[in-house]
Symmetry: C2
């Protein structure tokens, strides 16, 4: 089964499962005052160290959450609420993940002002436009490192420099980039970085948030003071151990994995664009995640292509799974300046650790015929 | 190792692990539009049905969260914020879990008024005092079903009737009771019920919230509209499957398990109170969770007892693990009217699925000597 929807969900690496299994039997609560609790506490701290090492941070700058969506909520709501006395203006971009967009809308209803920076046709947000948007009352700038939906990688280090020079805090959503390209909180000058476990083949229900020492946020989940008082709730020890193991593996393997995936990505993009007329690449041709093949086809619906692909045992997506519940075209694709019908004709293939070159060959064999057949049924295509 | 700290953390049932393992390899995102996503979606919905069946609810009245703490936050903040136009008064009790207490304090800082009903020396909150506290502007009453810390079970059905008759919404924290005594949302007249996965031997990082049809709450985690739009973030499919399996097992086994545990509990309470002079039971002698042995010893510190017990490979607690980070005596024990030194002399043993009668015998063999030895070192004891 050529599963090519890694951006929507990844299987857990077998080595990660192995690391987790012993902790399923362990009843210890890291807050407990006995040896069984201590064992759990040590396991959590070891995992924290591993996640920190992957992003060039200190262990006490990483907290565990229930996933990237919670981390995005905590970073933005938590920072905005805690630092509202300094200003109530936030800068972000038009192509952020739906959780960021919805959090920003929520803050707008609660007295904050948000500027959404547009992007160019490749999905690049210009460093200058960020600089121009930052005002005296801007407290936070949130920019994704890379887009899972169109693959585009931002000039995040230059943006970080600008934000720092303007004395605003910088949040980076690294959900799509972690484990695929370098994520270094120092190089990025980031104050807050969202980290996903499942996107690096760790378990779901776990995520992380990097919080630079000295940066103050308010918790959004209140409880017993876990995670340095920033996130209540008993720690998901086995899940956290799994995330730690996934981070350790990612640190060792991401460079060679990225190289392997980029070759397959390029073969697939070239193959599709050559084999299917009126097909186009979404996102940037070079500044691009190594696993991302985002294409669009005129005269056909992406969703029809998905269903036909699925019948051939190929899984793909039309964009972010998190926004699949709406019939609206993706806000990310619209931000590129695509027309509605172009956005609707988009298909996203994302490769991963278990993708093989045969999978690419298989898709290249099946896809052109599917598009052709669907176009034959399309009145738009026949009338063209 | 006689682990007797099940209230702090439970191992995952082997049958639950078996149910989860196949989903670790499954990459499907329930929001994805293909067969792999559909498989994940079906697994989540099957688990939802199982959790609903355990509490006599409909499947579409249960949403999944990251744990009991999140469910408590979502229930109270989510209900209060959504229904603030109807009134800004909340009624709860003095012995709720720290997450509820902290959420109420947060709401108090944000324009809400909260009444904390005191309890009697057994930890029982009187139905009349709840009734008297409800005002015209009371929108929500939150009462725990049972206390993990002192074992006391509230007259939750009578409280539910009163709350309903006063047209307020009723939230029940069933974290400690689920799987140990009957939890029936209809009998309780509950509108919102907090459910924990790990407390019924499911995985951590997963919880549930029952939301009665028609009851409106506002999400606290914003994202892609998952969980009926009430909880953003990709579903933790394997974890949810595990919670469902744990609920299925709990439904089949809770009655016989409660009977078995209650016998051990009674043997242990009787044994301790007989063997150790000036030892007392915390909580109610009859209205009591079947797994809860909460005792206190004059002239000694609970924490010293814990450390000595741990050296004999016995794990216990001084109260809620979630409040262990503070040196303050437990707010629950203080609410019973205990003096500081009585609260500090408390030790909590909680039994569970893997507790054996030999464990009880072993504790009864070791504990009296430990208390005796510690008392010999206590100036208070010698001066008595």
């Amino acid at each position: 089964m050529p599963y090519m929807d890694y951006a929507a969900g990844c299987p857990i690496d077998e080595r990660v499962v192995e690391a987790m299994v012993p902790y399923f039997k362990e009843p210890g609560n890291p807050s407990s005052v006995h040896s069984v609790g201590l064992k759990a506490r040590n396991a959590v701290e070891e995992a924290r160290q591993k996640v920190a090492e992957l992003i060039n941070a200190n262990a006490d700058e990483v907290i565990f959450t229930s996933g990237a969506t919670e981390s995005n909520n905590l970073a933005i709501i938590g920072y905005a609420m805690r630092n509202a006395s300094k200003g109530k203006h936030i800068v972000t971009t038009a192509i952020e993940h739906i959780s960021i967009i919805n959090v920003c809308k929520y803050l707008q209803k609660n007295g904050f002002e948000v500027t959404y920076i547009p992007v160019d046709r490749y999905g690049i947000v210009s460093v200058d436009s960020i600089e121009e948007a930052i005002r005296d009352d801007t407290i936070l700038v949130s920019v994704q490192h890379a887009s899972s939906e169109i693959g585009t990688i931002q000039e995040i280090e230059r943006i970080g420099e600008v934000v720092k020079s303007k004395n605003a805090a910088f949040h980076v959503d690294a959900t799509a980039s972690l484990g695929k390209i370098e994520v270094d909180v120092e190089k990025m000058n980031a104050d807050l970085v969202t980290l996903s476990s499942n996107d690096i083949y760790g378990p779901r229900g776990v995520g992380g948030l990097y919080i630079r020492k000295g940066v103050k946020i308010q918790p959004i989940m209140l409880g017993g003071g876990q995670e340095f008082g920033l996130r209540g709730g008993t720690e998901n020890v086995a899940g956290i151990v799994g995330f730690g193991k996934a981070a350790e593996i990612a640190k060792q393997e991401w460079r060679s994995e990225a190289e392997r995936l980029a070759k397959m990505r390029d073969k697939m993009i070239d193959g599709i664009l050559k084999a299917v007329e009126e097909s186009y690449l979404n996102g940037h041709p070079e500044k691009r995640l190594p696993n991302n093949i985002a294409v669009r086809f005129n005269y056909v619906e992406g969703e029809s292509i998905l269903l036909s692909l699925d019948m051939e045992d190929i899984q793909a997506s039309t964009g972010s799974a998190c926004t699949s519940k709406t019939l609206q075209p993706s806000h990310v694709l619209m931000a590129l300046g695509l027309k509605h019908e172009e956005a609707h004709g988009s298909v996203l293939f994302t490769l991963g650790r278990y993708s093989k070159e045969e999978d690419v060959d298989y898709v290249l064999e099946k896809l052109p015929g599917i598009v052709e057949r669907l176009r034959m049924m399309s009145p738009l295509y026949r009338r063209r």
